[in-house]
Every structure is written in structure tokens, then in C-alpha cells.
């Protein structure tokens, strides 16, 4: 009975406190709005990245499902499987469901479409494109394929046909390696989930072989097998063929984008950490401004626990509303991010079509948890402080400031301890990205805790300088130090935000500079020649005799030739470059492990392998180890790793074989690229393409194929453009983080200056002009921005080193040299300064517009 009465009293007290909170925000709507906005933006960014990653993963899963259908295994061979061999397999095992597949890419305007060649008669058991084996879709697909009478007929995924505004019988043009081709839409197909098949066109396998210049070869044979059948078949295959589980291929492809997606998530979490500081900022202001009110309530009998519950309840209510809005905003931001992300995945990994955004319950719950959790953690510190402060002390502002100043020291000590823990975590020899992120977060939070002490120390140290600037600068700087409970949090929030942008800028700049240097080294030839290809794929080859013919041209000093292909290895299929080097090719590869000269010689003459740095890092491989490759001649065969070379072209790793080694174990004399050294590079270059028309003509007479001829310099420039495009999404996220920071500093300064309305009124009553007050407000804002900018640099720099040497190394496997881009230090300080000044404009205007007499009367 007693308990229930107590409970009811407690409930009514909480109700009163809630009404008081509501009234406070009714009087300060801008502050409420900015608190909400800070959370909305933070949650919005995190949710947008979660949606983007989930959508890309879903599209990937659907596409894989569409392409592989029910197939459980695939037979692959080093150089593809000939039609004859496929026929042999079918005759030998008529009991097995098997289907031949060719997969390639064709251009269509600025899109890349996936062209699938299949045998309609073999398809019925595979339920490809999301259709079940006995469904109407499968039937219509089969019948459509059987009805091909037009030699250029294809069936088109329904969403693609809709986007291209095609009806059956309409024609459209695609880009193929050998030129353009007009195709006819013979029909469309749709699947249960239309996103699964978006961007696909399907045709008969024989036509696909012709269009993709594959000769009488298919890419793979797909099968539906149980474990016993798979085991038996595997044993019966010759050494030159391999039975691969479909899951292996799927997981290899998924692993490719994992690092990229984790990096995006890291950026979004960084935004949330910045958002967390800002939420803490908003919440602590809202609480600090009501310390006297809480004191009055405590005097009237409200318990500390009730004050705590009231503040946390308020934070919960605000964060729930803001987080829901944040999830909605995230969905909108994701619309923009997805196209950038897809473009990056297409540039770097494989062709992916994302048709719909995934806003599943998991994403919503994670977004809400991020916003509500961060807000509650941020509010807890302020709530505990307000609840634990004695009612008498709470009414003395100077005591609050003194307490805060006293607290800065132990806080800084705790911060240093956190940073040291982060350092130890980062230093641990682990490949775990999670550990890397934990180190990054510890560093940020630790530094954030040391900032109030640093601000206090720097402000104190700068006091003599400020005195030289006159009374106003003394007042402005003095109030930063004196109002440390308010200014400390605001400056820390801005500093963390600016440090994040500076750190990412240094990371991108270092990466760009490393790639730039690497491109300069790698592109050691003057001119590169290749058969035409389309974006995202293309497998056109040059004739084997072209190297000798090019070498005979009078302009040419030396020629290297390269063949790019996939080689199946014990760790999955890997990008491989088969190189027949010219005399300066060794300068193209920066060898990171092994003795450079002997490694190159071993590779060139003794059948060794060179592997790229990401491959070595991710699989723990090093010079001297063996790697099993699947060869045509002997099946699985170990190759010794002679060295590790720097390579930024592929994050999932690359192999390099010497041509003579390759010829010993594989039968493929195709050439993908030629690297040409000219006798007189200056004479044969031209400003636009780097290749003179005379030389272009000479080269084109050597083959019927329209060759792609580009100078090393042009490729260098284009590659950097692709690099910049790849990091577009990171830059966008960086700007969004700055947006969050701006809202935070704006809200902090607004709250700070509005709280000081009475102080400004006293200044005005004591003879301060409007201009002086404006100057004071802007000076203080500017000084806060300057402090934030300067204090952001050490954290930003250390953050960049962690991103470069821990996060990127663990995500992508490549090392790079840390470089602080020109102007980035000044830009960071300028950014903080401008953000703070802009944020100070409105408060300055508001202060001067407010009624002086009322300002002197009001608390």
C-alpha cells in the first residue's frame, strides 16, 4: 500500500518534471530543433550507409542467385571448356543436370549490361533468374529462346526493357569489343524479384560465343549435384578441370567488396561518433541551463533519482523522435549514395545493378539503436552530474565552472589512458578490422576527453596575447576559459568533427599520392596497346604474332606483352598477369619483399611467382612460400613465391607469371596488352592523346581490330580520375559529417549566447555598443573555431595514420606512405573557423535584437 502511494507520488513528480521539460523546450524551440537535427543527421548518415551496404549486398545475392539458379557446382578449366568437351561430359553423364554458360559484359550507352549465353534445352532444372523450374516464367523463357529466329535476338530483363523503353521486336545497340551490334528484343523475362535480374540480357550460347569472341569455348558448366555425385564427378575429372562449389565462388565475390563496405560503415560510424559528441553537447546545454531549476526542484523534495529519470526520459523522447526522422532521412540519402557506391563496385570489383533499396527491419532497428543509444550515453553524463550536484552548489554558476575545471584534469588522464589502450590495440599484430575500429574509437573518445583540459590550458596560455588585442579579445578568450563547462563541450565536438575530416583527407591524400607514384612507376612504357574492351569487362585478345610485328616498326625501341586472365589457385580464382617483359619492365614493379634483383631473376627464369601486396597480406603469404596453381598441363602444381610487389589495382590480390613459365604449364598464347618503348617519345606524342596520328596509323595497319592506343601518361590521368570517382562516396560522407558538426557548433553557440543574454544586456547597459557585442560574439565564436581547428590537427593526424596503417591495411591489404596534402592543415583550421563564425552570426544578430531591459530582468 505504502509502496503504491510512493509510486504514485513518484509518478506525479516525474509528470511535473516532464511538463517542466516541455515548457523549457517550448521557450527554447531553436535549441530543441537543433538537438533533434543533430541526432537526425547522425542517424541519417549511419542509416544511409547501412541501407546502401544492405542494398548492394542484396543486389549481389540476387544477381548471383539469378545467374547460378539452383546450380550447386561448376566445372571450370584453366582456358575454358570447349564445346566438344561439354558434349563429351553430357554423353558420359546423361544422368546429371548440367548446363553450359557464357557470361560477359556489353556496353549500352554509359551502362554495362551482363550478357548471359545459355542453352535453352539444358535450362529447365536450373530455375535461373528467380523462376522455379515448373513456373510459367521458365516456360516462357524457354519458349522465347526456342523462338529465336532472328540471329541478333535476345531476351531482356523486364525492368531493363522498361528503362530502355523497349517493346518486343524493337532494336537497340550495344558495344562489343569488335564494334557496335544491333540487337533485337525477342521477349522479356521477369523473376519473383525483379532486382535480381536487372541489367541482364540473355541469348543462345552460340550467339554469345560469337559476340564475346570466345570461339568454341564456354566459360563453365553448371551442375545440380548432391554431395555423393559431386565427390564422384570430381574424382572422374581430368587434372585440367576442376569441380568448384558454387558457394566458394559466391564467397570469393562477397569477400571482394567486404573491405569496401566495412570502410563505408566506418565512415558512417565516424559521423555517429561526431554526432554523439554533438548530441552530448546539446543535451548537456539543455541540462546545464536548467541547473537552477533542478536545484529548486531538489529543494522542494524531488529526489536525485527523479532528476536523473527526468533527464534520461527527456533524452529518450527526443532521441526516439529524432532517430525515426533520421531513418527516414537515411533512406533519402541512400538514394544518392547507392549510385556512387555501385559505380565504385563496378569500377573495382564486378558489375552490379542495384534496383531497389533495402530498408529491412534490421537496418531500421540498427539506425534507431544508434541514435537512441548514443543519445542516452551522451545524456547520462549530464544527467548524473545534475542529479549528484547539491542544490545549493547548483545555484552557483562559478562553482559549476570551478568543478568543471577541476574535472578536466582527471578527465584528461582518463582520456590519455583510453588513447594508450587504443594505441596498444592498433599495435597488436591482428588482421581484425573490428579491433582496428575499436582502436580508432578509443582514440577519438580519449582525445575528446582530454580536450577540455587542453582548451583550458591553451586559452590560459594565450591570455597575454589576447590582452594585446584589447579588451574585447580579452573578454572573448576569458569567457572561453571561464565558461569551460559550456565552451569545452562545443569546442570538443567541433574539433572531433574537423579531425575526422582532416584524418580522412590525409588518408585519401596519402592513398592518392601513393597511387600516383605507383602509376608513375608501373606505367614504364611510353604507349599501351590493347584490343578494344568495354567498361567492366571484355576479353578481346590480340594475335600472338603482333609483338614481333610491332617490334619491327622503326619508331619502336622495345615491346612487352601482357595477358590478363583468371587462374584458379588453392585460395580461389585470382587475377593474373602473364608478362613478357621488355628491358625496363622490371622498373614497373616495386618489390616489397625478397631481394629485388634476385626475385625478378627467379621470376623471369626459374618459374617463380610474384604476388601483389594485398594477396600477401590477406593470406599471410611471403617470399619463399609455395602457392598451388591449377595448370592446364599438370593440374594442381606448386609455384614458389619469388617476391611481393606493390599493387593498388586490385584489393583482392593479383599474381604475376613470366610468359615463358606460363607457356610451360598453360596453353594460351593470347595477348591482352602491349607496352611499347619508343625511340623518340617526344616526337611521337601529341598533346591530346599522347600518341601521334602517324604512329597510330602504323600500329593500326598491323591488325584488323580497332586497337585502343593510349599513352602511359593518358592512362595515368584516367586512372587518377577513376580513383577520385571511387572516393566520391567517402567525400560525400565527409561533407555530411561536416554538416553534422556545423549543426552541432551552431546549436552550441546559439545555446551559449542565448544563455548569456543577461550578460550581454549588462554589457550593453554598461556602455557596450551593438558593434562591440557583435564583435565579442563573433570573436568568441572565431576563437572557439580556431581552437577547435588547431586542436583537431593532432587527432586528425593520428586518425589518418590509423586509417592508413591499420584500417586500410586490414581492409584492402595495401600499405601506403602517409602524406599530408598541401593546404589540408590550413583547410582544416579554416573549416573550423568558418563553421564557428557562420554559426556565430545568428546568435550575434539575436543578441542585438533582444530587448535590453527584459534581458536585464530575466533569469
Amino acid at each position: 500500500m505504502r509502496k503504491s502511494a510512493q509510486g504514485s507520488h513518484s509518478g506525479s513528480a516525474i509528470g511535473l518534471l516532464a511538463r517542466s521539460s516541455l515548457q523549457f523546450f517550448r521557450r527554447h524551440p531553436a535549441q530543441l530543433l537543433l538537438s533533434v537535427l543533430g541526432i537526425v543527421l547522425g542517424v541519417g548518415i549511419v542509416t544511409a550507409v547501412l541501407i546502401t551496404n544492405a542494398s548492394a549486398s542484396r543486389a549481389f545475392a540476387l544477381t548471383t542467385e539469378a545467374l547460378y539458379g539452383r546450380s550447386t557446382h561448376t566445372i571450370v578449366a584453366a582456358e575454358g571448356i570447349t564445346d566438344a568437351r561439354y558434349a563429351e561430359l553430357r554423353i558420359a553423364r546423361p544422368d546429371l543436370d548440367m548446363a553450359p554458360i557464357i557470361e560477359g559484359y556489353v556496353g549500352q550507352g554509359d551502362r554495362v549490361l551482363t550478357l548471359i549465353g545459355l542453352d535453352p534445352l539444358a535450362e529447365s532444372e536450373f530455375a535461373r533468374f528467380g523462376a522455379s523450374a515448373d513456373s510459367a516464367q521458365a516456360a516462357s523463357l524457354s519458349s522465347a529462346l526456342r523462338l529465336f529466329e532472328d540471329p541478333r535476338a535476345v531476351i531482356v530483363a523486364a525492368p531493363l526493357a522498361e528503362r530502355l523503353q523497349l517493346a518486343d521486336g524493337d532494336t537497340f545497340t550495344v558495344d562489343l569489343p569488335q564494334g557496335q551490334l544491333q540487337l533485337t528484343q525477342a521477349g522479356t523475362f521477369s523473376s519473383v524479384n525483379s532486382a535480381a535480374t536487372d541489367g541482364l540480357i540473355v541469348t543462345d550460347i552460340a550467339r554469345a560465343q560469337s559476340w564475346l569472341a570466345r570461339g568454341a569455348t564456354i566459360d563453365r558448366v553448371e551442375l545440380v549435384l548432391d554431395d555423393d555425385e559431386a565427390s564422384a564427378l570430381s574424382k572422374s575429372l581430368p587434372a585440367t578441370e576442376k569441380l568448384v562449389s558454387a558457394n566458394t565462388r559466391r564467397s570469393t565475390m562477397q569477400a571482394m567488396t567486404r573491405g569496401f563496405q566495412i570502410n563505408l560503415t566506418a565512415m558512417s560510424l565516424l559521423a555517429l561518433v561526431v554526432g554523439g559528441f554533438l548530441i552530448h553537447n546539446s543535451m548537456s546545454f539543455a541540462v546545464l541551463q536548467r541547473r537552477e531549476l533542478y536545484a529548486a526542484l531538489r529543494i522542494s523534495g524531488v529526489t536525485a533519482r527523479q532528476v536523473l529519470a527526468s533527464i534520461l526520459g527527456e533524452a529518450l523522447a527526443i532521441s526516439v523522435i529524432a532517430s525515426v526522422l533520421g531513418v527516414v532521412l537515411g533512406r533519402l540519402i541512400a538514394e544518392g549514395l547507392i549510385s556512387m557506391t555501385t559505380r565504385t563496385i563496378n569500377d573495382l570489383y564486378f558489375v552490379l545493378h542495384v534496383q531497389e533499396l533495402v530498408l529491412g527491419p534490421g537496418v531500421v532497428v540498427l539506425g534507431l539503436l544508434a541514435g537512441i543509444g548514443t543519445s542516452l550515453i551522451a545524456a547520462t553524463a549530464s544527467a548524473l552530474d545534475a542529479a549528484s550536484t547539491s542544490p545549493v552548489a547548483a545555484r552557483q554558476r562559478s562553482l559549476t565552472e570551478e568543478r568543471t575545471r577541476t574535472l578536466t584534469r582527471p578527465l584528461a588522464a582518463a582520456g590519455v589512458a583510453l588513447m594508450c589502450s587504443g594505441g596498444v590495440l592498433a599495435w597488436l599484430p591482428s588482421l581484425s578490422l573490428l579491433v582496428g575500429f575499436a582502436a580508432l574509437m578509443l582514440l577519438i573518445v580519449g582525445y575528446g576527453l582530454t580536450l577540455p583540459w587542453l582548451i583550458h590550458a591553451v586559452a590560459r596560455a594565450s591570455a597575454p596575447l589576447a590582452r594585446r588585442g584589447g579588451s574585447l579579445s580579452t573578454l572573448a578568450l576569458g569567457s572561453i576559459e571561464r565558461d569551460i563547462s559550456r565552451t569545452g563541450v562545443a569546442i570538443a565536438a567541433l574539433a572531433v568533427a574537423v579531425s575526422a575530416t582532416f584524418g580522412v583527407e590525409v588518408m585519401i591524400g596519402s592513398f592518392r599520392s601513393s597511387v600516383d607514384r605507383w602509376l608513375g612507376d608501373t606505367l614504364s612504357s611510353d604507349i599501351y596497346v590493347s584490343a578494344p574492351s568495354i567498361a567492366g569487362g571484355g576479353d578481346a585478345l590480340l594475335n600472338a604474332d603482333i609483338t614481333a610485328r610491332v617490334a619491327q616498326l622503326p619508331e619502336v625501341r622495345a615491346v612487352s606483352s601482357g595477358r590478363e586472365l583468371y587462374v584458379v589457385t588453392e585460395i580461389g580464382p585470382l587475377d593474373t598477369l602473364v608478362l613478357d617483359p621488355h628491358d625496363t619492365s622490371d622498373q614497373s614493379f616495386e618489390l616489397l619483399a625478397g631481394t629485388p634483383e634476385s626475385a625478378w631473376q627467379t621470376w623471369l627464369h626459374d618459374g617463380g611467382l610474384l604476388i601483389s601486396e594485398p594477396l600477401a597480406t590477406k593470406h599471410g603469404l611471403q617470399a619463399g612460400d609455395d602457392l598451388m596453381l591449377f595448370t592446364t598441363a599438370e593440374g594442381d602444381r606448386p609455384f614458389a613465391i619469388a617476391g611481393v610487389f606493390r599493387d593498388y589495382a586490385s584489393s583482392h590480390g593479383k599474381l604475376m607469371l613470366a610468359r615463358n613459365t606460363f607457356d610451360d604449364y598453360w596453353q594460351d598464347n593470347g595477348i591482352s596488352t602491349l607496352g611499347i618503348l619508343l625511340n623518340d617519345p617526344a616526337r611521337f606524342g601529341d598533346a591530346a592523346t599522347g600518341v601521334s596520328s602517324t604512329l597510330r596509323e602504323s600500329l593500326n595497319t598491323l591488325t584488323d581490330l580497332p586497337l585502343q592506343i593510349r599513352s602511359g601518361r593518358a592512362i595515368h590521368t584516367e586512372s587518377l580520375a577513376v580513383f577520385d570517382q571511387t572516393f566520391e562516396v567517402t567525400r560525400v560522407l565527409r561533407w555530411l559529417t561536416i554538416g553534422v558538426a556545423f549543426v552541432g557548433i551552431f546549436s552550441a553557440l546559439l545555446a551559449l549566447h542565448l544563455e548569456r543574454a543577461r550578460e550581454f544586456a549588462v554589457l550593453r547597459a554598461s556602455g557596450g555598443t551593438q558593434r562591440q557585442i557583435t564583435t565579442l560574439v563573433l570573436l568568441q565564436s572565431g576563437l572557439m573555431g580556431l581552437l577547435a581547428g588547431v586542436l583537431a590537427l593532432p587527432l586528425g593526424f593520428v586518425m589518418s595514420q590509423l586509417l592508413i596503417h591499420v584500417i586500410n591495411l586490414r581492409s584492402f591489404g595495401w600499405r601506403m606512405q602517409g602524406v599530408v596534402p598541401d593546404g589540408s592543415v590550413a583547410a582544416a583550421i579554416f573549416l573550423a573557423l568558418v563553421a564557428a563564425l557562420l554559426a556565430g552570426l545568428w546568435p550575434a544578430w539575436r543578441v542585438n535584437r533582444s530587448n535590453l531591459a527584459r534581458g536585464l530582468r530575466e533569469d
Binding site: 552557483q396 554558476r397 562553482l399 543577461r758 549588462v762 551593438q770 536585464l856
Partner: protein, 237 residues
């Protein structure tokens, strides 16, 4: 005879409240001589604080004229009024209005800082004033650690810092107990007498009014002289 320090003639003032215009002052006439102490009595809401704010240039003159040391406030914009206030007027408020995050000495020297006086000079002046209000050695304290009486003495020191010829005090003892109020008033009256400063005190306390050379009342928008003896005899204002 020298020109009065403050001349108010035909002053009217109104506020927009809840969508309607509410008249606070209506056709007020008042003169305060140089060096004179005037107490302005009035009930709460009678407009006495508004009158003080208009004389101090904190609010613009809406109707009529206000002259302070010969300067017509109606002809001055906010900036000019501020500069005039800086050089000629000191304020003492009921709620002290000290800046809690500035030390006592910084609070006192605030008007001098705004006037661009050097740090050394203003600290010297502040120390002198703190000595004269009995707070010698308390310059480095925080204002909110002082008693109410001490805080008001700091506010008086601040009002006198720039040696203004006019001091406006709005209920200077309103937040103090009787003894502290008496002490503060004695101090204020003594200092203004010593410096030949004009003092206008707005109050509803007869004790405070007792320190004035002349007492007026503001009732229903009209200023009229008060016979202190008769009022005291009646027992209340």
C-alpha cells in the same frame, strides 16, 4: 542656475502585449537637478522601471522628450545612446546583474574595458572602488560566492567605475534584508554625495526613499511629489 541633469517632458511609453497596446507611461514630466538624489516611489507595474530604462537609454523614447545632461535622447539612435550611457550613466539593478563567470575586479572594471581603458588603469580604478565599498581584497572572488549585500556593493562599484555624472538605481535593496539594504543605501548615498553625482532611485521602500533629497511618486502614469512626513505618518506607501 545650472541646467538640470535629467529633464523628462511629455513622456509616453507603451508596450504591445497580447496583441494590444498597453500604455505604461502617459505624459510624464520630471526634472532632476545635478547632484540631486531623487527617489521615485511606485507600486509594482506602475512604470517606474520603464521610466528609468528610458532615461538610461535602454529603451527608445516613443513620445515626448528626455534630456540627459543636455542631450536629447529622442534624437539619438541606439549606438549614440549607448555611447552617451557609457560616458554619463551608471546602473544599479535589483538583481545585481553581476557576471558570475567574471571575477569581482573584472565585473567592476567592465565599463572601463568597454571604453577601451588599459588593463592596468582599470584594475587600479576597480581596486580603489572596491576599497571604497568595503570589499578591499575581494577582487579575485567570484560574485556568486558573495552575500547579497556584498554583491550589490560590487554592482555599485561597477556603476561608479567610469565616473558617470548620473546613477540610475532600480530597486537597489529589493533583494536585500533590511540591515544590508540600509548599509548599501548609506554607501551609495555617501559615494554619490562625495562625487556630486545625480542619483535617481526607483523603489517602493520608504526607508530607501528616506535617503533622497526629493521623493516623487508615479501613480497611474503621473509623477507627483510625495510628502514623506505625511506618508510615514500614514504608515505605508
Amino acid at each position: 542656475m545650472s541646467e538640470p541633469a535629467v529633464v523628462v517632458s511629455g513622456l509616453g511609453h507603451a508596450y504591445h502585449r497580447a496583441g494590444s497596446l498597453q500604455t505604461i507611461l502617459d505624459n510624464i514630466d520630471l526634472e532632476v537637478g545635478r547632484g540631486e538624489t531623487l527617489a521615485l516611489l511606485g507600486a509594482s507595474g506602475s512604470g517606474k522601471s520603464t521610466l528609468l530604462n528610458v532615461i538610461g537609454g535602454l529603451e527608445p523614447v516613443q513620445i515626448g522628450e528626455v534630456h540627459v545632461l543636455g542631450h536629447s535622447l529622442g534624437a539619438l539612435d541606439d549606438h549614440a545612446r549607448t555611447l552617451l550611457r557609457r560616458s554619463t550613466i551608471g546602473f544599479v539593478h535589483q538583481a545585481f546583474n553581476l557576471i558570475s563567470t567574471l571575477s569581482v575586479v573584472d565585473n567592476v572594471s567592465l565599463p572601463l574595458a568597454l571604453a577601451g581603458v588599459s588593463t592596468a588603469s582599470r584594475h587600479e580604478r576597480a581596486a580603489q572602488l572596491l576599497d571604497s565599498v568595503g570589499l578591499d581584497g575581494r577582487g579575485n572572488d567570484w560574485p556568486d560566492r558573495l552575500s547579497g549585500g556584498e554583491q550589490q556593493r560590487v554592482a555599485i562599484a561597477r556603476a561608479l567605475a567610469a565616473r558617470p555624472p548620473v546613477i540610475l538605481a532600480d530597486e537597489p535593496t529589493g533583494n536585500l534584508d533590511a540591515t544590508s539594504g540600509q548599509n548599501v543605501m548609506r554607501l551609495l548615498a555617501g559615494l554619490v554625495a562625495e562625487q556630486q553625482t545625480t542619483l535617481i532611485i526607483v523603489t517602493h521602500s520608504l526607508e530607501v526613499a528616506g535617503f533622497a533629497d526629493r521623493v516623487c511618486a508615479l501613480r497611474a502614469g503621473v509623477v507627483s511629489p510625495v510628502d514623506m512626513q505625511a506618508t510615514r505618518a500614514a504608515g505605508a506607501w
